[in-house]
């Protein structure tokens, strides 16, 4: 990588800087930088799923249909009571086993199925790769934080002043128009601070990806920083892991900082034309 730099720049930087520049752009380090994509992908997928499930759960909790209220209520009150890491480990395993069970019904012989072994036969084994685990990880984060988002959204829906909805009805808007143009339109102002909080929690949980054997930033930081000993060169470097983890901490703090700015802008945008204390 360093060889690509023009000669005058190489002369200007000097040997020492070039050495470290070369070290931090070697193949393994480039893989580390590239692995940021897994973290970002899991975060974005999780956020989309969480928002969808949160909306559904909020709709369920406020619905007139009893069972929907029950399901929405249980989902939004039980799931936040268990640690995210537990569900994060449980859901991919459970999903995989469920799929394998379904497959086993089709491919295994009745005798193998009755044996009580797991898996019943080798043909039923599913071998999932990084891509599949990434999707499962994103979905399980989405399910966990969807419960949080459901609480936030249902609270925000109830926070919209009744008078606004009554006025809209008095103007002759249809129920659907009241819902989309007034209720949901105003709901965002009350929901965004809470959703911002949920997003931060969700994104911080993407640091758990390595628990599902995905080669994410954390796994690479561990590999790159571990004391490096080769027989020919001796001890290349001692334990540098704390430095690499410090970079990861800085990365997450940076993302938090950016998220705060984006959510502040979103809140201003959602609140335009509304007479709230935060309006400009």
């Amino acid at each position: 990588m360093v060889d690509l730099l023009p000669q005058w720049l190489q002369d200007f930087l000097g040997q020492d800087v070039l050495f470290w520049l070369g070290y931090f752009t070697n193949g393994k380090h480039l893989s580390w930088y590239a692995s940021v994509q897994y973290t970002l992908a899991a975060g974005v997928l999780g956020a989309v799923v969480a928002l969808a499930l949160g909306t559904l759960a909020a709709a369920g909790r406020n619905s007139r249909f009893g069972p929907a209220r029950l399901v929405g209520g249980i989902y939004t009150s039980v799931l936040p009571g268990i640690p995210d890491v537990l569900f994060f480990l449980f859901f991919p395993l459970a999903f995989e086993q469920g799929m394998e069970w379904l497959r086993a019904q089709a491919v295994c012989s009745p005798m193998e199925l009755a044996s009580g072994q797991w898996p019943p036969c080798t043909a039923a084994n599913l071998l999932l790769g990084t891509g599949e685990y990434l999707i499962l990880a994103g979905v399980s984060l989405g399910i966990v934080y969807g419960a949080f988002a459901g609480n936030v959204i249902s609270g925000a829906m109830n926070a919209v002043p009744r008078g606004q909805l009554e006025a809209a009805r008095a103007f002759g808007l249809s129920p659907w128009q009241v819902m989309t143009r007034i209720h949901i339109r105003q709901m965002w102002v009350y929901a965004l601070p809470g959703l911002s909080n949920v997003w931060m929690l969700l994104f911080k949980s993407t640091s758990l990806l390595s628990l599902l054997q995905i080669s994410d930033m954390v796994l690479w930081a561990d590999r790159l920083g571990a004391p490096n000993f080769t027989r020919s060169a001796g001890l290349v470097h001692p334990d540098w892991r704390w430095g690499y983890y410090l970079v990861l901490l800085a990365f997450y703090i940076l993302i938090t900082f950016i998220s705060e700015k984006v959510f502040a802008a979103l809140t201003r945008w959602a609140g335009r034309g509304m007479a709230t204390a935060g309006a400009v």
């Binding site: 009571g81 640690p83 797991w118 809470g194 758990l208 930081a221 334990d239 892991r241 410090l246």
Partner: protein, 247 residues
Amino acid sequence: MTMLDAIATDLVLLAKPALFNIYFAIASIPVGFVFAIFMALGKGSSNPLISRLCRGYIYAFRGSPFFIQLFMFYSLALAFNLSVWKPLGIDWIVLNPLILGPAVLALNTTAYTANILHGALMTVPRGEVEAARAFGMSRAQQFRAVIWPNVIRIAWPAYTNEVVFMFHATALVYLTLPVINDQKDLMNKAGELFERDFNAFLHYPIAALYFLAISAAIFFVFGRVYRHLMRHLPKPPAMRFSPRWMR
């Protein structure tokens, strides 16, 4: 009957590991609470240097995942083992997961709790503080008699949530730090049982049940404390049993 038996067996097997999670929480929460009081006062301090430092600490610890904080402090403990801890003779303290784990948890909860307490500090009624000053109270007296009772009452519901999340965070400790012998916590033990018979639908939900039950117990105890704090009111506001689970 076999299913009930399996559930009962798991409940028994996971009882001792649950004690490790409870130990981590109990060892870290009081320390973090005391630190957080000073950190909250520091954040509200009029000295710009102290205020900036406290703000930076709180922002850094709240803005980064606890999982990576654990990794970083553990690797710090490892990297300076031969050069610093061993010669000082304190390597058995620094590298002991039963001490390092609560220490990092305490650093983490300090930041979250300080943020809650600082928020409460900002909402103490100004008139009460002015009245205390008019009575000629010293700053320590003002804090003890007027500011603190207000702060703790305002902050208690949010602090309850923080304690529950802190308890959930203890699940991460032994996914990072080395497990010595049989000192497994709920996550380790559930993982070990899973590897034995691949029954994810039994072991993880039972571990989740323990977390749910202990979270509910925390809400119950903290709710009773809240009632005690609010005993001067004619009708103490009830702390809802399913509060906003938000950190």
